[in-house]
Assembly symmetry: none
Homo-oligomer: 183 residues x 4
DNA sequence: CATGAATGAGAATTCATTCAT
DNA sequence: TATGAATGAATTCTCATTCAT
């Protein structure tokens, strides 16, 4: 029953799937309506029966294929009664897996390869240099032995992301967090 | 002397400045050659005397207006003989300032407003929820009192950036870094 | 049945017809895609649904509106059992008619008016002067009376065409053909 | 004396030489003013001191580097007192050499490679087929033994050129010329 | 005389979108 | 529901030409 409606729903999902794939591969601007239609095995005209414009399709992909719902679910699950550290690890691992499993969607956020390459260069360089500095100070006995690689990546990433999203972090508080002053 | 050459050099810089502005505002794909020319107060044709293509202009902006050189300089400055924590703070503040001062360039990395909005939503939500979790556990006495807001942002940003750049972080090591097991 | 396909085929033919007309009038380089579209009463974009590029359109016109197939047919028809001279006349007249009927296509071979004018001047002058020479010698009794105008045109055209196509003719053999030495 | 004028004259010739070369290589429409200037080792602006427009340059090349003057000279030289056949051969050989020595200029008449290729195909095919026909008839004893290859090329070229230049030839007269009826 | 920066018009081509079938 | 022919606007880029230096 509802064959008509089922078929329409199925087609809609198929179009969204194809669109996510194509947007990830070519970028939102780089993907033409023809590309999108071909990837879904339909004609351009048909897209307009399901989405009023290419822009609407983009927004729908971001909304319906986005991982915010899953993220919220993940973060709000009840975990009372279990040790905090264990919960934290589990939670962050899940989040990481969520990102990994949505690589295509993440790709849509960056304007093609250019951005990803630039970002990788930026963070790579920064982390390497901060890591070297930390190693020095550990060797000199000023800082206690610890995982300097992870520390460098943590410091760098935190400053960068929070600046990029427009809410800069309190740097002294960040340093205090990782390297608490003896009291 | 060299008025001709000076003028050409000046024009080149002016075109790059305008391009950075326009790319940041509209995204690389969203900015047409006409937009770029208008922002510089010249005709589209002139752009092609200075850059062989729009693509070449993009690359030049990224290269010549990029902050990698300044970043390297910043991170490699000699800071021996001063306390590690102080150096770290200074270093990260400088890096943060560098990013802040190059907001336009950062914007170029993201495909227009859409990406920035999505990223902000993603991180905001995640950090808020992790922060709430940490607060709970501090209230319950399981974790020592600390700056949970900063901690949440740190954890979240670190996992996200390192996944986005293709080199995922070791989550247990990250948690151990912020919340070392008593020994 | 097949109204859609028929219509598309008709449109394709129409575009080729219009293109042949415009190319003949303005030359291949002189005809813009806008000109071609206007001549066919469509928008430039439509041309690209039928031909991948202007260049492809040129090639298609040359191939599908070319007279090589008809020429081959003409020259290979069975004519055994009829006098050679009669066959030759018939054959050349047919060929001439073929060229006449495809004046537009011939025009495409020459880069616009300039070339045709130059060619006409060149041949006109040459034939006139050779004709005068032949008349002289006929008047002097050195050559037998004959159609000197035709002879002049023949000699001139033969040398010119064969040079232009890159396979120069054997001039003494040519002269011997028209004016055999007494034996 | 007149160093100024001499220099100007020299430059003018140099520009014409370069233009002939470039026009022949790329076609009149395919050669940009930049190409022309570069080939002459000057800047585009300078061309306009010597020729009011690109069009004027084209016309000047055709006029001043054309071979009409030399052709006229060649054809009107006094050759009285020498046998007609010998004169004809000499004359046509000179004409042929003139064309060969001005291959570049000839190239200017044709809109790039396309035209030359088409023309070569057309004549090649036609001459081959007519040649075969003549051979048959010679073998059958209907026509006297003669140079059928040259005859085929002659017949074909004559009809084609005269049609192309707009003054079609009298075909029966042409055939009578090569194959006179016994009387 | 010579340069080359700058322009304005126009070239080929692409593309989101509409609509008759 | 689905097609695909057709459009009109925009895009990147080229080019003949001008003119201040």
């Amino acid at each position: 029953m509802g064959t008509r409606k089922e078929q329409a729903e199925w087609r809609r999902e198929q179009l969204l799937d194809a669109a996510l794939r194509v947007f990830a591969a070519k970028g939102v601007d780089g993907a033409s309506v023809k590309d999108l239609a071909e990837a879904a095995g339909v004609t351009p005209g048909l897209l307009y029966r399901y989405f009023v414009s290419k822009e609407a399709l983009v927004e729908t992909v971001l909304r319906e294929r986005g991982f915010m719902p899953r993220l919220r679910e993940l973060l709000t699950a009840d975990r009372s009664g279990r040790p905090a550290r264990q919960v934290l690890v589990e939670l962050l691992v899940s989040f990481d897996a969520l990102l990994a499993g949505n690589a295509e969607l993440m790709a849509v956020f960056f304007s093609a390869a250019r951005a990803r390459a630039a970002l990788a260069e930026l963070t790579g360089e920064g982390q390497r240099l901060i890591g070297a500095f930390l190693d020095d100070r550990v060797a000199a006995g000023e800082l206690p032995p610890h995982d300097t690689g992870t520390a460098a990546r943590t410091l760098f990433a935190t400053v960068a992301v929070n600046r990029a999203t427009g809410s800069p972090i309190d740097v002294p508080a960040l340093v205090e967090l990782l390297y608490p002053e003896e009291r």
